[in-house]
């Protein structure tokens, strides 16, 4: 029976219309995955050495203190990035497959997910280091079994959480609360949880707890999955009552307003598009990693610009990447209307500019780390608006992946809130401003670096029309191909 599922998966991969770009992306992602695995492996040994030899701490105890955050962060990451176990379920329902078989296969796939495997790259080298320093083998093994059970608990917990829209915010909120309490020294939850993780190592019966929880979650998620395999349950399309919106105040944008009104509704009413807003909020906090000096390697001045680009450009990067794919579902309509491409594009451009400005204002919290930090942010904002806004639109013109805006409505559809691709493809846009800054910084002074980036940003405005014309040309030239590509459902 499983043979059929595997053959179906195989065919759906190789026969998908977007194979060429899909394959390239897969290789690209594969590279990053390997790199991440490699870094983790090095990290496993390096952290052990660091804790033991430099800080003279017990590596195991120290790691155990932080494991609670690791566990919760893993859950949040999964929620945002891990795809739900989907195989085209509807057509299988009527075939003589046992429902439990369908679900087992879907679940079996998640077991081998990258999100589960990646942890091994850290913990196996770390455990080997432990054993080499004469920690008893069977205890280290017990500890590992406990951790593996916890990782897989997350795997199944994620499946349950994915069906409920708001639960994850509760989890995130609790994490932030305890993190804050610990940071400000009121209450340190890790002292208590460290007992538990230490217990996994010391007492064999304690490692049964996560195993037990894991099995419980597996059964629970399995049952709810099987139970929901009905057209009017898990596979049902929920519709809620909505009302017509005017947004007439946007008419001041002139001709662009027609599209702007639509784009705002697009973002408000589609989970997939809404998540770009969520991403930009997350990226607002990204700078904390750099400006607090939390990570040593990021202390270099050039990294400041890198961080600042992300802090102000989260929305720009994640939304702009997929223009015009956001409109893929009704692209034939757009193409048969008398549309001025310039108005269409400038609507998206305005959205990105407004979002960047809002991010810049919100980022004023970084003034806490000194006005120079905020200066970097403002400079990066100018660069984002002047250069990156054009670059992402330009790059987006070549992206022909159809976006299924409604996917979030199917309980078993593509739940992924935002795309890993988006993040990876945005890396090149970082390099140029970093280079410019580095040139200014090392040749003359930091301010010269900022000035160079600012000038580049302002100069970017001059090219707005050129780039828009170029994009218009691409849209026209690629019209038939794009229409064809959007017709292929993923």
């Amino acid at each position: 029976m499983f043979k059929h599922f595997i053959i179906l998966q195989w065919k759906s991969f190789w026969r998908s219309a977007s194979l060429t770009s899909g394959l390239f992306m897969k290789l690209f992602m594969g590279f990053w995955a390997l790199w991440l695995a490699f870094i983790s492996a090095i990290g496993g040994v390096a952290i052990f050495k660091l804790l033991k030899d430099t800080l003279h701490l017990d590596p195991l105890e120290t790691i155990n203190r932080f494991l609670i955050y690791w566990w919760v962060a893993d859950l949040l990451f999964r929620y945002a990035l891990q795809k739900m176990p989907i195989i085209n379920i509807k057509p299988l329902l009527l075939l003589p497959f046992n429902k439990r078989k369908i679900v087992s296969f879907a679940f079996g796939k998640t077991v081998f997910s990258f999100f589960n495997i990646v942890h091994a790259f850290f913990f196996i080298p770390f455990s080997i280091a432990l054993i080499r320093y004469e920690y008893p083998v069977q205890n280290v093994l017990l500890w590992n079994i406990g951790l593996i059970a916890l990782i897989y608990s997350n795997n199944f917990l994620n499946i349950i959480l994915n069906k409920k829209d708001n639960l994850i915010f509760v989890v995130g909120g609790i994490l932030a609360l305890f993190g804050g309490l610990q940071y400000f020294g009121y209450f340190d939850i890790t002292i208590y949880t460290a007992y538990f993780f230490q217990g996994l190592y010391k007492a064999w019966y304690l490692s049964l707890i996560p195993v037990f929880i894991c099995i419980l979650l597996l059964l629970r998620s399995f049952r709810s999955f099987v139970k929901d395999l009905y057209l009017d349950a898990g596979l049902a399309i929920k519709s809620k009552s909505v009302k017509t919106e005017n947004l007439d105040w946007l008419n001041r944008f002139g001709k662009t307003a027609t599209f702007l009104k639509n784009d705002i509704k697009l973002i408000k009413r589609n989970k997939r598009a809404r998540s770009t807003v969520l991403v930009s909020i997350l990226f607002l906090f990204y700078g904390l990693l750099f400006f607090t000096g939390a990570i040593e390697t990021y202390e270099g001045p050039v990294w400041r610009i890198f961080a600042a680009i992300f802090v102000t450009g989260g929305f720009l990067l994640s939304f702009g990447q997929f223009v015009p794919s956001w409109d893929s579902a009704y692209y034939p309509l757009m193409m048969s209307q008398n549309i001025r491409y310039k108005e269409y594009l400038s609507s998206k451009w305005w959205l990105m500019v407004i979002a960047t400005l809002i991010s810049t204002v919100l980022a004023s919290g970084y003034l806490y780390f000194g006005w120079e930090v905020y200066l970097a942010i403002v400079v990066a904002a100018i660069y984002n608006i002047g250069v990156n806004s054009h670059v992402v639109l330009w790059a987006g013109a070549y992206v022909k992946t159809p976006i299924d805006l409604t996917s979030n409505k199917k309980a078993f559809g593509d739940k992924q809130a935002f795309n890993t691709k988006t993040l990876l493809l945005s890396l090149p846009k970082m390099v140029l401003p970093m280079l410019l800054y580095a040139i200014g910084h090392y040749v003359y002074s930091p301010y010269a670096g900022y000035a160079l980036v600012t000038v580049a940003g302002i100069a970017g405005f001059a090219f707005k029309d050129v780039v828009f014309n170029k994009i218009e040309g691409i849209y026209r030239k690629e019209k038939y191909k794009t229409l064809w590509a959007y017709k292929q459902k993923r």
């Binding site: 399309i237 519709s239 009552s241 909505v242 009302k243 017509t244 919106e245 027609t258 009104k261 639509n262 509704k265 697009l266 009413r269 589609n270 579902a329 009704y330 692209y331 034939p332 309509l333 193409m335 048969s336 209307q337 008398n338 549309i339 805006l405 409604t406 038939y480 229409l483 064809w484 017709k487």
Partner: protein, 231 residues
């Protein structure tokens, strides 16, 4: 109004549509019938410049559709659900199309009020996005949206499919009114021979990508079509 010149469309060696010459007069109501795969949607998509002909070209009002976009302001169409914006309510969608076609809200409301019986109270004020409407109601929205902005060419692919009997009868009335207007050229396709003979002045039968019959509708047309498809 619409002229097809030496048109062929080939997909990987398979020719799916060949039309040497086809001219549709202004004010005509033109019906296209044919079995699945006969090339009906291919022809309509090519008229709208959504696919590129392998050879030949199509003119709309004397303009080559692939070279200029002037024809777009006088042409409207509803082919399938990719002409609907799923996350809008019906009203928002009508106003959006209206704005693209230079109509303000009052114009659009005026037009909609004429079709209240066609909507049968299931489209306007529904508190639902288009994607949550039934197939039939989505079709109603698409058809009426294609009438916004006084288009001179209206292309509807299988407008009768998915509609309930009452709506089919009302749609026939609407289409007859449109074809009575000498300024409006209507192109429809249908699998229902009865509807198409009732509504269209001229009927072309496609078979495996070729025109096999070109009839001016008369009392004998329905019988002739039935005989053709009964072979």
């Amino acid at each position: 109004m619409i002229t097809v010149h030496n048109f062929t469309k080939t997909y990987t060696g398979n020719t799916v549509l060949t039309i040497d010459h086809l001219e549709i007069q202004k004010g005509n109501s033109f019906g296209l019938v044919g079995n699945n795969g006969a090339g009906k949607t291919t022809l309509f998509s090519a008229v709208l410049d959504l696919i590129k002909p392998t050879t030949g070209h199509i003119e709309n009002n004397g303009i080559k559709v692939s070279e200029s976009e002037e024809w777009k302001s006088v042409t409207s169409a509803f082919i399938d659900e990719t002409f609907l914006i799923g996350y809008l309510t019906a009203e928002e969608y009508f106003y959006f199309i209206g704005e693209l076609r230079g109509q303000n809200k009052a114009d659009v409301n005026g037009l909609l009020s004429r079709f209240e019986d066609f909507f049968h109270g299931e489209v306007l004020g529904q508190k639902k996005y288009l994607r949550d409407l039934s197939k039939g109601n989505q079709k109603k929205v698409g058809i009426i949206a294609a009438l916004i902005g006084n288009p001179e060419v209206i292309v509807l692919d299988e407008p009768f499919a998915n509609l309930d009997p009452t709506t089919q009868i009302r749609l026939k009335k609407i289409l007859k009114e449109l074809s009575a207007n000498p300024e409006v050229t209507v192109m429809i396709s249908s699998h229902d021979l009865m509807h198409v003979t009732e509504v269209c002045e001229r009927i072309v039968v496609l078979d495996k990508g070729e025109v096999v019959k070109d009839l001016t509708t008369s009392a004998a047309t329905l019988k002739e079509l039935e005989e053709h498809f009964n072979k």
